[in-house]
Symmetry: C2
Subunit: 347 residues, 2 copies
């Protein structure tokens, strides 16, 4: 018998789906991108799904249920935007153990509904069932796009610019902050009166880190900006597993290599400060942290001038020949080969 | 705080979604039927989702993983057929704990893929992640239908015939058989040599009951037959929670009552024999057993003649005025009010 850890998440999916064929004329793109693409008539239909499991993807000791619902919906919207589409409908399946009350599930749903309202998405169905253990959330999202607008992962060309929105590693630092406080709380004996260093005080001035972890947003604003300046990406993904992992997906699917520069990576000041305090390398966090839900895309070098006025967007490198591989150029000019650490909870 | 058991599954969904509005022009039908209905162009798109949790929906002590995968896919197809549509694509999300091997997940996937092949459905995406506890399967299915062909739950009219395919309560009796053997196995001490009454012997001649529980099929053949004879149902559902529960859904959504006859309910001989052996009332099993995945529909009384040549289809009653409620007429003419026992694992 083979342990699943041997394959890891990506390996297992690849292994399970390696000779999968599609037969429906409406299926334009199956497994292997942020979304599947279907053609049911005038517009293309995008489909994506995400599952969140208690103890793996979230810890209810510090994640409020409303935030969890919001995030569970938004990460799906982010996948639709990452194809340059517009999310339109979701279905929500919940597995709920007895320790949750109706009010708990209402809070979860209120977060999902808030996300739907903000992003103009309809909640059109789902399944709610009892669970023996903990909370399970599975959301599937549909979206639409004109065929000419869809951006896949496999379109990056030699010399294309590599761009990323927002900043990287911040959601990961938010998680470190939450984890540190959780440990501090669990180590203080129950009978000790609360000290001045309560969790709330520890979070002061660091609300942005928490927000990035607990309540991420999908970057539809970046797509709107790109449309305004007339830039269509050649390849695109959202950064859910970490920049390294996503860059390697784009490069392997496009048959190219890449070169990104350490000093170009957008890093938030608070995130960097906390990383120093916690003795972490913020660049490693930016490369492998995950859950930022920023947009990573490539576009033609000819679009360089058009990109300059776009706010909150950073050019971090360029596409190379495949022989070059995927490399980071450090601050002192050293070349470091990127590794897809990503997320392997099977280990 | 309110215990979830107070609401039950249907109550909880209703409570959570009671004032939910849709905003997308492409959303034609949201929550409340077997599928959501979207309009993306020439054809309508149907969407449904189901979640299966270990210990709640299946017991791996007697459910082979390949069968489980097959069933998980087929129950979604059944929801699409229950709208008179054709399933076209699925996404599969899995939560997998460490006790599963790659071979286990291959077996599960092989069942899903077999179902996809048999029903011409494309597997177009999904999510695979580690789980702290047990196996979680969440499948979402898309399908298509011409607008004029879609059958909702709310179209039943006074005097319409009520029809059901196949037989009822058989999947439930299959489950009873499996449970009985599981208990017998667990009670025999590990050191006792196997007796002549091995599980395999106990299942002999009862393979059909097991098949109905472990490897159900979706009744697309019934829809094909109805198309051939030119009958379009006025309301339709698949029987997943039990006949009583489904009849009450159709009646409440259509604003009608119904009358079904005990002696018209299609009961399998093996199922009836096992029920007698186990001291169970087979009619109660047929009404409340669930998991039969047969089609329940209403159609105009004018279609009566056309229905006669359709194989494996049974007229079990008719639609009444709403004041009459939902009633079963017993073998001695007694009137019994139907109750939706359904499935309430929150209790």
């Amino acid at each position: 018998m083979t342990e699943i850890a041997k394959y890891g998440e990506f390996g297992l999916i690849k292994h399970l789906t390696k000779d999968l064929k599609t037969v429906q004329p409406s299926t334009k793109k199956g497994i292997g991108d942020d979304c599947a693409v279907m053609d049911f008539g005038s517009k293309k239909v995008l489909m994506t799904t995400d599952m969140l499991l208690e103890g793996i993807h979230f810890n209810l000791e510090y994640v409020p249920l409303k935030h969890l619902g919001y995030k569970a919906a938004v990460v799906n919207f982010s996948d639709i935007y990452a194809m340059n589409g517009t999310p339109t409908q979701i279905t929500v399946s919940l597995g709920i153990s007895k320790r949750f009350s109706v009010e708990d599930i209402e809070a979860l749903y209120s977060g999902i509904r808030l996300a739907c309202e903000r992003y103009n998405v309809d909640l059109v169905g789902g399944d709610t069932c009892a669970s023996m253990t903990g909370l399970t959330i599975s959301i599937t999202c549909l979206g639409t796009a004109a065929a000419k607008d869809i951006v896949y992962r496999n379109g990056a060309k030699l010399n294309d610019l590599i761009c990323v929105s927002g900043n990287l590693g911040t959601a990961y630092m938010g998680l470190q902050l939450l984890e540190r406080e959780r440990l501090a709380m669990s180590q203080s004996t129950p009978n000790t009166p609360s000290t001045p260093n309560t969790p709330i005080a520890a979070f002061e001035g660091r609300e942005y880190l928490l927000e990035r972890q607990l309540k991420p947003e999908a970057r539809r604003d970046i797509l709107e900006s790109l449309r305004k300046v007339g830039v269509k990406p050649t390849a695109m993904m959202d950064v859910s597993d970490g920049l390294s992992s996503e860059l390697m997906h784009i490069c392997s699917q496009s048959g190219v290599g890449c070169c990104v520069y350490e000093d170009k990576l957008p890093i938030d000041f608070q995130a960097a400060a906390l990383a120093e305090e916690m003795n972490l390398n913020i660049v490693t966090c930016a490369l492998n942290g995950g859950e930022d839900y920023e947009l990573l895309f490539t576009c033609s070098l000819d679009d360089y001038e058009k990109l300059i006025p776009v706010e909150d967007l950073y050019i971090i490198g360029h596409i190379t020949k495949p022989e070059y591989g995927c490399n980071l150029i450090g601050r002192n000019g050293e070349e470091i080969t990127l590794k897809a650490q990503g997320w392997n909870a099977f280990d």
